[in-house]
Amino acid sequence: MDSSNDNDISDHISSVINQFLPLLTMNHHRIYGYILSLLPVRADADDIMQEATLIMWKKFADFKPGTDFVSWGIAIARNLLLNYRKNKYYKVLHLNDEAVKMIEAKSESFIQEVDRRMDVLKQCVKKLPGRDRLLIRLRHEYEMPVKIIAERLGKNIKTIYKSLARIQDALARCIRRTLVAEEWR
């Protein structure tokens, strides 16, 4: 294979990546959201997302431009999740079939709303007290494990989890209130 062929191939790959990357970047959170809703264990959901991304990359030639990239990605993720759920270790600490079925039934509307919710979330986070913002910053920006947060703050893990749950609840309420208010405008 001569060098001109090499260049052609390289250009082709670059072109494909330039199509694939923006689509993935733009829709990553939607596909990941779908996975996370059915597999609410961050590390496992990350693995599935990573695997799904690899498959999407490999099969990107099958994707028809102009069609729904998210649906395509979710279809791939769904198969991976099905396989994952067949794993004998899966059932130990994961959602049961009935719960998964019910979540799946809501997943479409969930995916559709996720962007709006994330927009509103920005405003809601700003309304949190400074201490709460710091806590979620440690958790999400610095990805500090709860155990480390607890150690550093001289508290027990349970207290930190309760605080995170309270903050999450406050944000969920804020998003809901804001969305309802927007609908009435």
Binding site: S10, H29, D132, Y142, A165, R176
Partner: protein
């Protein structure tokens, strides 16, 4: 779904636990049940996940801690932020190994991409390596490399104290709450309810009483923004300082209390040793620029007001929960009925309407005394067991409602009683409430006096009242202008007996409340109202008699009659109407189980 849905807190926590793979089987089962059984819970579950997604993706870039830098609390948080950053640094170090593993993983996957069914053969691969790696990093949510470029963090602030224990503590912000054994770092502490005991170095114990906002700046310094603390210092090697918005208190080994109100007005009371109280000279007000200092010794108290002036108070405040009371409250919170009662007695003692309070706790050094523990009347109304000339007239100390507690056994045959001082404070003509505990002997005389009050100085006179039992009923009695003797004797007696029969051979709480405005006696047994009776004339001053007299417990005083037989315990005398709730609380605190 309403915002008040009871499962929300649960579900929110379950989601976070699940995301961290920290959920238990039972918790997972609960999560499954909620999702399956409650459609609104399913919605909420998805709402929680959208919050998590949002956080994970881009909200972080919107944080701006500096926007509130003027706020005091955020300033304090910044101190903690230093600590967080240090923790982050540590985390980075800890994850460097993981980082290397990740790079290796990226490399393996890059190779995987280059050799599998790519749209086109991946040659030359290094042209796309960066973008492929970027895809994988996005896909995995693994954006950790930026951590490596962070500045080296500042030194870790050391813990300055730890929480020894707490009683019903509620914190203003649960994310900054503490439990027993927690280390405390410099930074704001805000207690909404309850009490906490904090230990600092060198034997310093601080009892914080809610509501309070403070900052333990070091092992020798506390800033009290608002609220109340009691400090007990064993080691006086180094001065201990409490700063408030308007004062600086320097202690040299003692026990003292500090109270700061919303305006920063500071009160300090000294229980032992001495302190130096100084106004702050760093305030902007002109009048506070002049530094003033006052030395306070045990039993002294002073206030630094808004203008910075310092005024001495006559007596220290009795409202501080000091170390001893705190320890009693702690034992009470752990289930000890005796300590529950003992803790409650502190509350009773602080009542400004309390005239005398006999807790019937034996004083081993002075077993012949029955102490009055009312803060206001102090030791002035201490009782004396029996008559010095007749040892047989002294009631006997026995075990009370609990093994730790005393009570007095009275025997009418031996004419036993407790003599009280003939003090004007026991002359209570208007509203009057007396609460006591008794275990009466069924063989007692037809009429017996439990508590008798007089107001005069040694004569049969002035606002006589006598409560006890008569003919198996509870009895309230007072006089209005009664004569000492003769044909008119008892013509102005006001005597009220209950319809209900008295209880014998068991501990009973009796409360008799005289409402002078409505001229009614209200009777309560074991914390519950049983009867009310009207009378026509209030207690009034009457003609002095000639018999030497005195108030007493267990007999009619100077008349030396109506001797009681049985056990008596805890007598509280108020010059106000004690409410039904207060009586009920008094009973609940003092009941045996």
């Amino acid at each position: 779904m309403t915002d008040e849905a009871p499962y929300r807190a649960d579900l929110s926590e379950l989601v976070i636990l699940s995301l961290d793979n920290a959920i238990t089987k039972e918790q997972l089962q609960r999560l499954n049940e909620l999702i399956v059984e409650k459609p609104e819970a399913l919605d909420y579950y998805l709402e929680c996940l959208s919050v998590q997604l949002g956080m994970q993706n881009f909200v972080l870039s919107n944080f701006d801690v500096s926007q509130q830098s003027e706020d005091h609390s955020v300033l304090q948080e910044t101190i903690k932020l230093d600590m967080y950053e240090t923790a982050i640094h540590d985390l980075i170090v800890e994850t460097e190994a993981a980082e290397r593993a990740l790079r290796e993983k990226l490399e393996r996957q890059r190779r995987l991409l280059s050799t599998r069914e790519n749209p086109v053969p991946p040659k030359p691969w290094w042209h796309v390596a960066f973008k492929v790696a970027a895809i994988l990093m996005i896909a995995g949510g693994i954006v950790q490399l930026d951590r490596l470029s962070r500045e080296h963090p500042k030194p870790v602030p050391t813990a300055v104290a730890h929480l020894t224990s707490s009683i019903d503590a509620q914190w203003t912000d649960s994310s900054l709450s503490y439990i027993e054994g927690d280390k405390i770092y410099p930074g704001p502490i805000s207690l909404l309810d309850g009490f906490v005991n904090i230990s600092l170095e060198k034997g310093v114990q601080v009892v914080v009483q809610a509501p309070a906002r403070l900052d333990i700046k070091s092992s020798r310094e506390i800033y009290l923004e608002e609220g109340q603390i009691a400090v007990n210092i064993q080691d006086s090697t180094d001065p201990f300082v409490v700063q408030t918005p308007r004062a600086i208190i320097t202690d040299y080994g003692t026990e003292f209390g500090v109270y700061v109100d919303r305006d920063g007005i500071t009160e300090s009371s000294v229980f032992e040793g001495k302190i130096e109280l100084r106004n702050r000279t760093d305030a902007h007000r002109l009048e506070t620029r002049l530094e003033k200092t006052l030395l306070l010794y045990a039993g002294h108290a002073a206030v630094v007001n808004k203008t910075g002036s310092i005024k001495a108070k006559e007596t220290p405040s009795c409202n501080y929960v000091r170390d001893k009371e705190y320890r009693i409250k702690l034992k009470a919170s752990q289930g000890s009925a005796y300590h529950r009662w003992l803790a409650y007695t502190y509350q009773v003692e602080r009542d400004p309407g309390l005239v005398a309070y006999y807790k019937f706790e034996k004083d081993l050094m002075n077993p012949g005394l029955l102490h009055n523990s009312t803060v206001r009347t102090s030791r002035k109304l201490d009782g004396t067991l029996g008559d010095e000339k007749s040892p047989a007239a002294r009631p006997t100390w026995v075990e009370g409602r609990w093994p730790q507690k005393g009570a007095l056994q009275f025997n009418a045959t031996n004419r036993q009683y407790v003599r009280l001082p003939a003090d004007a404070q026991l002359a209570i003509p208007g509203d009057l409430s007396i609460v006591w505990w008794m275990k009466a002997d069924p063989q007692l005389a037809s009429r017996t006096a439990v508590i008798v009050g007089y107001g005069g100085k040694g004569k049969f006179e002035n606002f006589y009242y006598s409560h006890g039992l008569e003919q198996g009923r509870y009895r309230a009695f007072h006089e209005q202008g009664a004569e000492e003797s003769g044909d008119d004797y008892a013509k102005n007696d006001i005597e009220v007996l209950t319809d209900a029969a008295a209880d014998f051979d068991r501990w009973v709480q009796v409360a008799i409340v005289r409402d002078a405005a409505t001229k009614q006696y209200h009777f309560y047994i074991d914390g519950e109202w049983i009867e009310s009776h009207s009378y026509d004339k209030n207690c009034d001053n009457h003609t002095p008699g000639t018999i030497e007299n005195f108030p007493a417990i267990g007999c009619s005083g100077g008349l030396q009659s109506e001797f009681y037989t049985g056990l008596l315990d805890e007598i509280a005398i108020y010059n106000r109407i004690v409410t039904p709730d207060e009586i009920r609380n008094h009973y609940r605190a003092g009941k045996m189980n």
